[in-house]
Subunit: 292 residues, 2 copies
């Protein structure tokens, strides 16, 4: 696939592509939120186990999950894609097929990006979402006494990565960004929110650091079928939402189960206790997942 | 440099880093423009010839040049950086040093990004700029009879890449985005504009395609000292502005020389003539520079 072909192909998918920049018209009285996420060959996926459509889905899902965490409505994305010459144009088309299928479901416009040849597949997706002014959900709002909740079940993605089969593997390959739940949580006025990309034990420390609080977990977690407690506590890429609330919340929000897993306490610095014992952040503390 | 260290380091550089997304508050009655550009090891630079600060400068300069082409005022950027484990923390700090030095000069906020370990250095910079509503400069506005202009001189970057010394090499290593000129051109009401990233002969075809016109170049070009005609016509990465105007423009705009190089004609499809003969787009038509 030559340069002209791929650019023409992408132009056919997105609107407003053809200038040096994509142009976006914000609505009155809204804030915009922005995130960018790498999906790198041999780090976040393998060509031998992930189809091109899986990679396209995952690349956008990672960014959409960040929008969900802010309580934002998805608006548009820019997709940077580098591929090795050995990959045929079919790979590129299937990649965009997987990405645009998810984009269509969530009303995301593919507004542009960059393409290059490289020795490995590199994807970087930037996603923009909208929130009413001043209403974005942050990590910093948790207060002592707030209840701690998660959406869905934990550990499925890590478990799927080990077994490479069944529902858990499907959850790993095709994570579902919790956009509707994020919008509902914003309207419910939860105090803090983030997505679980690196595992509960590490991500909860991050939320506590931003809020300058600590946390006590009851010991009861919504563990995905087949997953271990370790996978639920420390496994990455569940892309569920972790959030805190002053008032009690229903058991289901926007069609997703919500489980109360503990409460915020006033100790500093960010210490986590699980079933009465200290919990060390053990999730993959590698550079690959460091989101700034 | 461990994950926590690099994230803390980047947090020290930028504002609003710490949540899943960066939050941005648009002003009333403005459009936002967005661009993203790869800078890849062994494609856009070599670790042996480019310092980390050069790479940081170039990564942001490429995106800023796209903002200049739209006549936009820079607002903020997101920086995705993947580096091999062999590179020390000093490389990362010098990279951000080069990037933030340029960002400071143009009032760009480093608002977030992503980091990862990878076998090669991969940089992807997303940049956002502001323009008054409906006023972004596009490639599609050129009309028959318009004069064609370029800022500065052509061929320096390609020449510098060959000689690796002198002013031309410096121009290649540290391209200067034409932000002030772009803002002035927007206020002057030029009809079409883009930046020269892949060489005049190819980029002019793109502008003509978007405007559904053709072009006649006089044969006189502002060739950079030492550069050949071929480098001026077909060399990439000059990051000068190519634009068209119905009315005559001064010879200097926002401190940069402006040269009239031809005129837009009504033939279709996008054909370029140079000094009376057909000119084929010869610039690097490789996937690496395909901007969608």
């Amino acid at each position: 696939m030559r340069e002209t072909e791929i650019v023409e192909y992408i132009r056919g998918l997105g609107s407003g592509i053809g200038d040096d920049c994509a142009v976006f018209q914000p609505r009155a009285r809204e804030d915009l939120v922005f995130t960018t996420d790498f999906v790198l060959e041999s780090r976040h996926f393998e060509l031998s186990t992930h189809t091109a459509a899986d990679v396209g889905h995952k690349a956008l899902a990672r960014s959409l999950s960040d929008l969900a965490a802010m309580g934002a409505e998805p608006a548009f994305c820019l997709v940077s894609l580098a591929i090795p010459p050995k990959l045929a144009s079919r790979w590129v088309k299937e990649f965009y097929g997987g990405l645009t299928a998810l984009a269509t479901r969530f009303g995301v416009t593919l507004a542009g990006g960059d393409t290059a040849r490289f020795e490995r597949v590199v994807v970087d997706v930037m996603c923009c979402g909208r929130v009413p002014r001043g209403k974005a959900l942050l990590r910093s709002g948790a207060q002592p006494g707030d209840a701690i909740y998660v959406t869905g079940e934990l550990g499925a993605s890590a478990h799927g990565l080990t077994t490479k089969r069944g529902e858990a593997w499907k959850r790993h390959l095709r994570p579902e960004p919790r956009i509707a739940a994020g919008l509902a949580l914003r309207k419910l006025g939860v105090s803090a929110c983030m997505d679980l990309s690196d595992g509960l034990s590490l991500d909860l420390v991050r939320l506590c650091k931003e809020s300058r609080v600590s946390a006590e977990l009851t010991g009861e977690l919504p563990i995905a079928r087949g997953a271990s407690l370790d996978e639920a506590l420390n496994g990455g890429e569940d892309y569920e939402l972790l959030f805190t609330s002053r008032r009690n919340l229903p058991h289901e929000i926007a069609g997703v189960t919500v489980t109360r897993i503990g409460r915020i306490t006033s100790q500093r610095p960010a210490r986590i206790r699980f079933a009465g014992r200290p919990l060390k952040p053990k999730a993959f503390d590698h550079f690959a997942e460091a989101k700034s």
